[in-house]
């Protein structure tokens, strides 16, 4: 199928995921292709964010849809098929994660083309590139559970309920992981004041700490008087 035909297929097919799954189950390969075109980019980005390898991400897309095709008979998507597909993609991505010591091209290389097409001033582009480098490095320091939540929310745009379906845990847990992830990121980003990040201020928690802090903040002139 040519690119134009694929785009047409993607645009025209307004059926829900459930309808497409049922049609694909009956052997309609065009319905399966419509599902593929609907979700391939999101899965590719998810794989790219975790593995940082574009070719591995393409393989993750293919493997995810291969598994979906094999599972068509037992798939019963209530709403969207996206959580199921993303859950498979997350598992595949973590199975393909580079081993320690193996250096792959960074995520910035994968998105280099996007930088060059941006129509902004060189200084703002450089600032954005630096911000991206620092933030993505900080995201890499997160544990897998927290990183998945951050990536799914900020990169793939999933809401908390969808993330809960993907990672198979309650929404409250997702909220907690997102909160922890953001605070962890803030602590890392605080090391870069040139990017406008301020470290979290220390507030006294006990009465003794509060008194010592008040004494330290008291002007010296009053003591002498």
């Amino acid at each position: 199928m040519s690119g134009r035909a694929a785009k047409k297929n993607q645009d025209i097919d307004g059926r829900t995921d459930r309808e497409l799954v049922y049609a694909a189950r009956d052997g309609d390969m065009q319905a399966f292709d419509a599902l593929f075109y609907r979700y391939k980019d999101g899965i590719f980005r998810l794989g790219l964010a975790i593995t940082k390898d574009a070719s591995a991400s393409e393989e993750i897309v293919v493997d995810t849809f291969s598994r979906a095709h094999r599972a068509l008979a037992r798939l019963e998507p209530e709403g969207s098929l996206r959580p199921w597909l993303y859950r498979v993609a997350v598992n595949l991505s973590y199975n393909r994660r580079p081993r320690k010591g193996l250096v792959l091209s960074s995520l910035e290389d994968a998105t280099e083309e996007s930088f060059t097409t941006d129509e902004r001033s060189p200084s703002s582009l450089a600032e954005l590139a630096e911000l991206r480098r620092v933030v993505l490095a900080a995201v890499d320091t997160l544990g897998p559970k927290h990183k998945v939540v951050v990536v799914l929310h900020y990169l793939n745009g999933l809401n908390l309920a969808e993330i809960a379906q993907v990672v198979d845990c309650p929404v409250g847990t997702v909220k907690s992981r997102l909160h922890y992830g953001l605070r962890h990121l803030r602590a890392h980003l605080a090391a870069h004041p040139e990017l406008g990040f301020e470290p979290e201020r220390a507030f006294p928690t006990t009465r003794g700490q509060r008194m010592s802090l008040a004494a330290a903040e008291q002007p010296r002139g009053t003591d002498e008087e």
Binding site: M1, F32, F36, A110, V135, L178, H179, G196
Partner: protein
Amino acid sequence: MTCGSTQERMSSVLAGAAGRHELLDVEAHVRRCARCADVYQGLIATSVAVDRAYSALRRASAVISPARVRFALRIPEPVPASVRFSRIAARVNELALAAAVTAFAFVGSASVAPKPALVDEFAPDTANQTLTHVTASADDQYLLRWLRLGRYATPTDMLDPAITPKAEWDDSGPTVTHERAGLLR
């Protein structure tokens, strides 16, 4: 509302999952509590930074065909109806051509096939007589000879008019005509 519960709700506020009531509660608490206000401001700044960092990657797309999935699953490529019809038409064409060639071959071979030899049905059936050969009559022998002469003889206008062919009973003189005609080989 305590600081702990407020901070737990901050992530849902940042994720856009909080209701209006929850949002107002958080903002009211943040106005009163300096520590929660600091945490809230930090989370907002971090959230914006992560969102901006992923903005370029959000535009990334995979140039993959679903054919790769079919290849991985070893499913044959679906054939469009138009291609299927053209394949059927081509097959019918091939069959028609083959039939035409076969028919031509049969008809051609029938027309050039040797006709059965004439058999003299009234001839006596003897062991010495060959039934498959017909003995030519005297007139036929002359005709055959004439035909052979006509084939090998040089046209008369090409002959030397000075040399007159001799009669059959005249043994003297040149036999140029016959020699040139190739009859005396």
